[in-house]
């Protein structure tokens, strides 16, 4: 059942030190800013964060990094023109980095949500990012074995929810949120508005409520 929370602080309550936290967004689009700010106030430390980027400018994920709450980040594209917070932490050895091809990140999250124990992909074959990984020849081509990324918590943003937790998104702000929602034990969503069941078109629901644990409307 989906819980409607009165505040972002309530929505992120109980996140434990050492948790693996998925953070939606591709750059700032779809970034759950209010939930991240609440997580900074909540103070959980020693987090492993999985997100496409490693924060932009000084807000959102960058602010969480600056607060010293993140031990390790798993992402595809940390280096950006405005990733100075991450850059400084990384160069001074204060954060661990695992870089994964963006498609592996997405597919590994999906695998965790779909009960897939592992999968073979051609992405990364013969590169640094496949070093030490198991490979297999399939129909004459080399594939790398990749593993699911399951998490304790997903923090995502959506456009509108109904009270059953069904979600719709807006344009490219959708990005990682729907797969992250499937891969976490607890999925927390900030939304623009909450409507009654029946107000969303059942053909256009992107994330069914079964994947959504907590919602806060902002």
């Amino acid at each position: 059942m989906t819980l409607l929370c009165a505040s972002a602080d309530e929505a992120v309550s109980g996140i434990a030190d050492g948790s693996t936290v998925l953070v939606g967004g591709f750059g700032p689009a779809g970034m759950p800013f209010a939930l991240i700010d609440a997580l900074i106030r909540q103070g959980a430390r020693d987090l492993t964060v999985v997100s496409n980027n490693a924060g932009n400018a000084d807000t959102g994920l960058a602010a969480l990094l600056a607060a010293g709450q993140v031990r390790k980040i798993v992402c595809s594209f940390p280096r950006q023109t405005d990733s100075w917070v991450f850059d400084e932490l990384y160069r001074t050895g204060k954060i661990e980095l695992e870089v994964a091809p963006q498609g592996n990140l997405a597919e590994r999250l999906r695998a965790a949500g779909a009960g897939i124990g592992g999968f073979y992909t051609r992405t990364g074959v013969g590169t640094l990012l496949a070093e030490g990984k198991e490979t297999r020849e399939i129909d004459g081509r080399t594939y790398v074995l990749e593993w699911p990324i399951a998490a304790d918590v997903a923090l995502i943003s959506a456009h509108t929810a109904d009270t059953l937790g069904n979600l719709v998104y807006r344009k490219t702000a959708r990005n990682f949120a729907p797969v992250m929602a499937t891969a976490a034990t607890t999925t927390v969503v900030q939304v623009g508005s909450v409507v009654e069941p029946g107000a969303l078109d059942p053909e256009a629901v992107v994330t069914p409520g079964i994947y959504v644990d907590r919602i806060v409307a902002l």
Binding site: A114, G115, P197, P208, I210
Partner: protein, 214 residues
């Protein structure tokens, strides 16, 4: 007290479904459990052919050939429903997101092995559907079945002789004579009986039984 009718079995099982659970009801008898889930239960029904928020059977003018359940019978849509394709539907099932599924069975073993897709008869046409996916994927698996075959042998057995659907997956077995809790390595626990004594159950079933103790 006499053994339960099919309808009563479905009602007993429905009573144990938690409020607001996401549930898949298998084809056949398990589908009738839905008749005992009132709207206020908040239970959301999943059908593996791509829907959450399935409503009761459709009748008359509400029949829509594009809206059917896994047994291919016309159903209805509740407010807050969502449609998705088959890979997404089975990802939901296999990924451990359904709180519960209710399945029929030919046999259940004392350790929770399930046999419900194939009688094992040499001329039977095998047909598995989504049974194996539900059995390994749902957080809890409840079986709804008659306890005895027409010839009087128990369907709760020490080891299944029919081909298996999945290993050690069943949590509870709801039958006309008794409700059982499978503990895995320990004895099978008897939660309730109807029209049969515990000692008679012990005599007729070739599995270790104990009374369930709250």
């Amino acid at each position: 007290m006499s053994p339960l009718s099919r309808d009563e079995m479905a009602r007993v099982l429905a009573r144990d479904i938690p409020r607001g659970a996401y549930v898949n009801l298998g084809i056949g008898a398990p589908t009738t459990v839905g008749d005992h889930l009132p709207p206020e239960s908040g239970v959301v029904l999943h059908t593996e052919n791509g829907m959450l928020g399935m409503g009761p059977a459709a009748t008359g003018d509400t029949i829509d050939p594009d809206l059917i359940n896994a047994g291919k019978f016309p159903v209805t849509e509740l407010p807050g429903a969502a449609y998705f394709h088959h890979a997404d539907s089975f990802a939901m099932m296999r990924g451990g997101h359904l709180d519960l599924c209710v399945l029929g069975a030919y046999q259940v073993s004392a350790s929770g092995d399930l046999a419900n897709w194939h009688t094992g008869e040499p001329d039977a046409i095998p047909a598995v559907g989504g049974a194996m996916d539900l059995a390994v994927g749902a957080k809890q698996v409840f079986v709804l079945m008659s306890l005895f075959t027409r010839t009087g042998s128990s369907k709760l057995v020490g080891e299944c002789t029919c081909p298996l659907t999945a290993l050690r997956c069943v949590d509870r077995v709801y039958t006309d004579y008794a409700t059982f809790e499978i503990t895995g390595d320990g004895p099978v626990l008897v939660r309730e009986t109807w029209g049969i004594s515990f000692s008679e159950l012990r005599a007729r079933l070739d599995v270790p039984l104990e009374w369930y103790d709250d």
